[in-house]
């Protein structure tokens, strides 16, 4: 009996060893950090990836043009996403490893196509792509955007990307969401997902178009990097397709409503006021006849001493801006505020909720915005 067991164990170990012999050594992997997805004029998928060089042994002639760059860049075009990944596998001199992707960039052109949701699903289903990446929708070419990603803070691209995003999120100019959020929300029954909006500094006209300089929010609210890449604003998806673009000011307000930012800067009559969220914003959905009524209540405190008149002016300005934002979203039939989750809670089954057709209802809903502003400074 013992002999049989020993033989079985030996056979098992032998089989295991033979099956696992093509091991994945850590230094033999090509860790993709950034992936740009675009669609060419003739409908092909264009994938651009950036890979860090490992050690000093790796030469930079594998596709990267810049000898000094610590990264290699590869770009392929193929009829489909899967074929493009296969092509990259052939092209990259090491084993392609997608498990550490930090950033997925989709161009505005591809994100606005009706088949973008299928592409998002395919990306999510890619083996070992654990979709924890940040997600940017950018103006122009996603490949160009990816190629400009270079190390700025510290020595590693990942540190730069994380620090860059964290800083922008803290300021409230971009939404705090990742690729998985977009993927899940696109396939679920709730509010519409948002992604980060990015653009390259290709000219003053573009920049002006991308930033809302007339917003009551801070006018110099642009995060500029030496690589001339910008993150500012949000891309709102409807059914997995890009439906609406919000500027930096609108995104700040959206983040305030979603409790994703704590402070906001408001400029009125040449003076800037720093406001902090006093409580978590309150959202509610109530039903009146056929159309719902959506309510949003935000309480802010100002660290400086402000008069009642100034407080009223701030409240009015913010109320107007928020109202405009809600109406803008209603006109595009997108709900990035999270009202859908509240409304869904009033139904027992998903069938009833789907029949209710929230998108249309939301578009018809009557918004009510209440903003409270007061001073926290001791008079």
């Amino acid at each position: 009996m013992r002999g049989c067991i020993a033989a079985a164990v030996l056979v098992a170990v032998g089989m295991s060893l033979s099956a696992c012999s093509p091991s994945m050594e850590v230094e033999n992997q090509a860790y993709v950090l950034v992936m740009g997805i675009d669609r060419t004029e003739n409908g092909e998928i264009e994938l651009t990836i950036r890979i860090p060089k490992i050690g000093q042994s790796e030469s930079s002639n594998g596709g990267g043009k810049d000898e000094a760059s610590p990264y290699l860049t590869y770009a392929v075009r193929a009829g489909s996403y899967a074929r493009a990944i296969d092509a990259l596998q052939v092209m990259v001199p090491r084993e392609l490893n997608l498990s550490h992707i930090k950033l997925i960039i989709a161009s505005e052109r591809i994100a606005g196509r009706s088949d973008f949701r299928e592409l998002v699903d395919q990306i999510a289903e890619t083996p070992h792509l654990y979709n924890t990446a940040r997600f940017i929708v950018c103006e122009g070419s996603a490949g160009d955007y990816a190629k400009r990603m270079d190390s700025v803070i510290g020595t590693r691209l990942s540190a730069e990307i994380d620090a860059w995003f964290d800083h922008c999120i803290q300021q409230g100019f971009i939404p705090d969401s990742c690729f998985a959020d977009v993927y899940y929300a696109s396939n679920s029954l709730y509010s519409d997902p948002t992604a980060v909006w990015g653009f390259m500094d290709s000219g003053e006209a573009d920049r002006a178009a991308s930033l809302n300089l007339d917003s009551p929010m801070r006018r110099d609210a642009v995060m500029e990097s030496p690589s001339q890449l910008f993150l500012s604003g949000a891309a709102v998806f409807r059914g997995g397709t890009l439906a609406l673009r919000l500027d930096n000011g609108e995104t700040q307000l959206l983040n305030l409503a979603l409790n994703q930012t704590r402070s906001i800067s408001v400029a009125l009559a040449g003076k800037s006021y720093e406001l902090t969220r006093a409580h978590r914003s309150k959202k509610s959905v109530s039903s009146e006849k056929n159309n719902p009524r959506v309510e949003l209540e935000i309480s802010l405190t100002c660290e400086d001493q402000i008069t009642n008149g100034q407080a009223s002016a701030i409240e009015a300005a913010l109320t107007d801006s928020l109202l405009a934002l809600v109406r803008k979203c209603q006109s595009s039939k997108v709900d990035p505020f999270g009202f859908a989750e509240l409304a869904a809670g009033r139904f027992l089954t998903t069938g009833e909720w789907i029949d209710y057709n929230w998108r249309s209802r939301f578009a018809q809903a009557e918004p009510r915005i209440v903003v409270h502003a007061k001073s926290s400074a001791v008079p």
């Binding site: 009996m1 164990v9 098992a12 089989m15 295991s16 099956a19 696992c20 093509p22 994945m24 498990s99 999510a124 289903e125 083996p127 070992h128 654990y130 979709n131 924890t132 990446a133 990742c178 690729f179 998985a180 959020d181 993927y183 899940y184 929300a185 396939n187 679920s188 029954l189 709730y190 999270g338 989750e341 509240l342 869904a344 809670g345 139904f347 027992l348 089954t349 998903t350 069938g351 009833e352 909720w353 789907i354």
Partner: protein, 342 residues
């Protein structure tokens, strides 16, 4: 070698296995995981209580034939359960890293672990479950703390998900698992009679139902069910559970350990139940032979693709009804016989 298990280890082992099986069954093993699976787990636990209660009568009034038939039923359920768990383990290993490795090779460690586990005997499996209960609580706490900012309670609504029919269907499936895994009580060394035995059944059902419901709710708050209702691939189902994408990846290790740990305890419990019942039905067989037979059969079933077949899904759907019906018939006949004797 005689395969046996004492009451307390049996209760712990079954409790750990029930929670794991219901969670797997209503999330990863479900091709279109629906909303409100947590509610189904609770209802399933409640539905299983009367059947588990009636198990005691099967051995008392049912006679040898009824007992043997029921042993056969639980044996078949435990064996297929082991196979499903082995397939789950292999899928998880493939998803996490070993997607290029042959399924037979992936199943090998699980099969060896199953054999080793059964030959350690029932009390060891129960003791391991007792230790696992503590580790599980600790790991779950770590996981919840790490993932806390990413939970979305609003994703639990609408409260009934796809509706009563789906909830009921899943509840019946869950009740089937509770009933088949609970069979380890009745067929253990000293039988399942007695007040303490029944209390243990109730308690274990309640605890495992609550744990499964909690896990399913946490899972639903991290990744919403898809409205399309289309069959999801293994890749996506494990994606939603293990790596999810909404939390930093390097924090996922406790989740992976929790997942594998739960699956191994489930495999141990179901495999041991099958081996023990096999030995009871064929008392001349040595425990090691039974362990080997169960390991081979479960591995073969897992490799054959039967674990993913529609037939098995159908059988699982009706195993509760079969168990309940069988118990009711035996109890009724026994009752009539008792009256006639009187």
């Amino acid at each position: 070698m005689k395969l046996r298990v004492s009451p307390k280890p049996a209760a712990f082992s079954a409790c750990a296995a029930m929670a794991a099986r219901v969670f797997c069954g209503l999330s990863v093993d479900c091709v279109s995981p629906g909303y409100a699976a947590w509610l189904s787990a609770i209802i399933g636990a409640a539905l299983s209580v009367p059947v588990l209660w009636m198990y005691g009568h099967v051995s008392v009034v049912g006679g040898r034939t009824a007992r043997t038939a029921f042993q056969g039923f639980i044996l078949a359920a435990s064996l297929t359960g082991s196979a499903v768990t082995m397939a789950d383990i292999a899928h998880s290993a493939g998803y996490l890293a070993l997607d290029r490795v042959a399924p037979a090779v992936l199943l090998l460690p699980a099969a060896l672990a199953l054999f080793w586990c059964i030959t350690r005997n029932g009390d060891s499996i129960g003791y391991a479950a007792m230790i696992w209960a503590r580790l599980f609580a600790l790991l779950l706490l770590i996981v919840v703390i790490l993932q806390f900012p990413y939970y979305r309670p609003e994703w639990l609504r609408p409260i009934l998900g796809s509706g009563w029919s789906t909830v009921a269907r899943n509840a019946v499936r869950a009740a089937g698992w509770f009933c088949t895994i609970g069979g380890i009580w009745i067929f253990r060394e000293d039988g399942g009679e007695g007040r303490s035995g029944k209390n243990a059944i109730l308690l274990s059902c309640a605890v495992s139902g609550a744990i499964a419901a909690l896990l399913l709710a946490l899972h639903a708050m991290l990744a919403p069910a898809f409205y399309s209702g289309a069959a999801l691939s293994w890749q996506l189902r494990l994606d939603a559970l293990l790596t999810n994408g909404r939390t930093p990846l390097y924090l996922q290790m406790p989740m992976i350990i929790l997942w594998y740990g739960g699956l191994f305890h489930l495999l141990g419990c179901e495999g041991f139940a099958a081996a023990m019942l096999l030995q009871q039905m064929a008392p001349r067989l040595d425990g090691r032979v039974c362990a080997g037979a169960v390991t081979l059969c479960a591995s073969a079933l897992a490799l054959s693709g039967f674990t993913g077949s529609r037939l098995l899904a159908l059988l699982i759907r009706y195993q509760y009804i079969a168990a309940a019906g069988f118990c009711a018939i035996v109890a009724a006949r026994g009752g009539l016989q008792t009256c006639a004797d009187a």
